[in-house]
């Protein structure tokens, strides 16, 4: 903690809170998405699965602000309800990946030479395959579906988190405060838990904010390929691949989930980048 305040004193510019309009918009949008994920029934005008009596492919206006889809379901309501699976995918996959990455990274950074090189070579191997292909392998072996898709996305991003944690562990374990704690005779597990882990994990937590956006995007890609959520559910990637069949008549059906996914990922990325910038102590 003291290191942090010292940096802030040297660089007073970073401690000044500077909010750009883009940042405010991103924050507002994320707030709306979170609200939609928590209480969709308050924001959605209709049941997302109810087949409306007014008919299919209605244009926007009237009782349906964004029109209806091929089965006469309200597009706006489906968009609102789609926020929850996307956020669950993003947060869930990132949590799994960060946990797995941290454990592997700590084991590599603190373990014996042999453990370390085994883990790091394994990571090199896994990193030689593009993330989407790795996720596809997991789905081939485990089967499709939204839970498996979440694990697939998580598995694919474990190696990059593990690398960061291991590098950070190496820095922290050579630092004087760890040496001091060890010198005081504090048990190794306590040193790891109280001193090494909190300091090694900080950069990963910052990066994982951006990771949530990437995971939402990857999850939507899997749904788009027909390997994620099951069709009737209101899910953005699935709405998209479904709407694609009718794109020549009514491209609005595809545009709505596209905009929702893009703005969500973009807003989270903007917030994550700002967080990273501040934690690095640079203001440009």
């Amino acid at each position: 903690m003291s290191a942090f305040t010292a940096t802030a004193a040297v660089l007073p510019r970073t401690s000044r809170i500077r909010l750009r309009p883009g940042l405010i918009l991103a924050g507002l949008f994320v707030a709306v998405v979170v609200a939609a994920a928590l209480v969709p029934q308050l924001l959605a005008p209709h049941d997302p699965l109810a087949i409306g009596a007014e008919g299919a492919f209605l244009p926007s206006g009237g009782g349906h602000l964004l029109g209806t889809d091929e089965s006469g379901r309200d597009v706006l309501s489906r968009m609102v309800y789609g926020a929850r699976p996307s956020l669950v995918m993003g947060l869930g996959a990132t949590a799994i990946a960060v946990t797995g990455g941290t454990l592997l990274g700590l084991a590599a950074g603190l373990g014996s030479r042999l453990t370390e090189s085994l883990i790091m070579r394994l990571i090199d191997v896994v990193l030689s395959v593009p993330e989407l292909l790795l996720a596809l392998v997991v789905i081939t072996l485990a089967g499709a579906g939204s839970t498996n898709a979440m694990f697939a996305v998580a598995f694919a991003s474990i190696p990059s988190y593990a690398r960061i944690v291991r590098a950070q562990t190496h820095i922290v374990r050579r630092s004087t405060f760890v040496e001091a704690a060890t010198g005081l005779g504090i048990r190794r597990s306590t040193v790891i838990w109280r001193h090494v882990l909190p300091n090694a994990i900080r950069p990963v937590l910052v990066l994982s904010t951006i990771g949530v956006g990437t995971a939402i995007s990857a999850g939507a890609a899997l749904s788009f390929l027909g390997l994620g959520a099951e069709p009737p559910a209101a899910e953005w990637g699935d709405m998209l691949s479904n709407g694609l069949q009718y794109i020549s008549n009514d491209w609005f059906l595809v545009a709505v989930p596209s905009v929702a996914i893009t703005l969500t990922v973009l807003s989270i990325t903007v917030l994550g980048r700002e967080l990273r910038r501040r934690s690095e102590g640079r203001s440009t």
């Binding site: 070579r121 191997v125 030689s128 392998v137």
Partner: protein
């Protein structure tokens, strides 16, 4: 080179031929190691799932398999051999470029890949070229030039955060359905290539442009740029001839990212535009649970990645002698 010559060369910062060869050799071994690891993991995955491999081959044909038939299939795939034997056979076949047999299509995985590879290479190489050109153009034109810099970096941020399929869909809506100037799907002709190529190129180009610009801005602050300017050199010439040359090294560093983006993006792009190619092959193998095909494609992807990285490393060693002496 004599010992004294070698010492002099090292002192002067020039690597000896031996040092260069050693560095390349180390990288080569590391690359082979990664491939061996990928092959081993792939073998383990194959073996764990092999229990139903024989069954799924026969069941795929809708028959009720007899024991003789299953044994026959097991022998065909070599599943009756001891494990180490199967592993060594597997590695041996890989060395010959044999990636195994597809359960579903009943043909060699390597043949299926070579049949589809041309289309994907065409798409990926053209997309990579477009991405690099766009990135260079955007970076050279906007580095340290307000307000263009912020506009361009906003566009790049948006493009890099937008999922590939969304970019493709937007292009489809604009150029195929509204303006009706480009075909919606298919493999025939250069016109059908334009939209998939852009879909694949834009997100990659956006990330490259961001990296290239920040590198370019750093180079533009160097004293030798000031020297060039003080000789009366025009701004454009300074940017292109002096600054860009240094910044381009950064693009070479990003080749791993580019290859990953192209291979992953090809699956999405080929699906969206209904194009034939390795990406389609991968997706259909995943949906039909054709495990040897999926793993064969993954080993192939790892091979491409390792070869590209090795080439990058060798190029680096040749352009930047500091890397060897360091």
């Amino acid at each position: 080179m004599t010992a004294r010559g070698a010492m002099a060369a090292r002192l002067a910062g020039h690597p000896t031929a031996v040092a260069v060869a050693k560095r390349i050799g180390v990288r080569l071994i590391a690359g082979v190691g990664v491939l061996w690891g990928a092959a081993t993991l792939s073998f383990i995955a194959l073996h764990v799932t092999a229990g139903d491999a024989a069954l799924s081959t026969v069941a795929g044909q809708g028959a009720n398999p007899t024991k003789e038939l299953l044994d026959q299939v097991r022998r065909d795939f070599g599943l009756d051999q001891p494990l180490y034997r199967q592993y060594l056979d597997y590695l041996g076949r890989l060395l010959h470029g044999d990636l195994g047999q597809s359960y579903q299509q009943r043909i060699a995985v390597s043949r299926a890949i070579t049949e589809q590879l041309g289309q994907t290479v065409q798409l990926a190489v053209s997309a990579a070229a477009v991405a690099v050109l766009l990135a260079i153009g955007a970076a050279v034109l906007t580095a340290r030039r307000r307000p263009w810099r912020s506009i361009a970096s906003g566009v790049e941020l948006t493009l890099s955060a937008t999922p590939t399929f969304v970019i493709g869909i937007v292009l489809l809506i604009v150029f195929s359905f509204t303006l009706k100037v480009l075909p919606v799907s298919g493999n025939d002709g250069p016109r059908a290539l334009i939209l998939p190529m852009l879909t694949l190129a834009l997100p990659i180009g956006a990330v490259l442009a961001q990296v290239l610009r920040s590198e370019l801005e750093e180079v533009l602050e160097q004293p030798f740029i000031l020297t060039a300017r003080s000789r009366g050199m025009r701004d454009t010439v300074v940017r292109v001839r002096h600054a860009l040359r240094h910044a381009l090294v950064q693009i070479v560093t990003m080749s791993g990212f580019v290859v990953g983006g192209l291979l992953g993006g090809a699956v999405i792009t080929e699906t969206l535009f209904v194009r034939q190619g390795v990406g389609q092959l991968m997706l259909s193998a995943v949906t039909t649970k054709d495990i040897p095909m999926v793993l064969g494609l993954v080993v192939f992807a790892a091979f491409v990645y390792v070869v590209v990285n090795l080439l990058v490393d060798i190029t680096y060693t040749l352009i930047d002698p500091r890397l060897v002496t360091r």
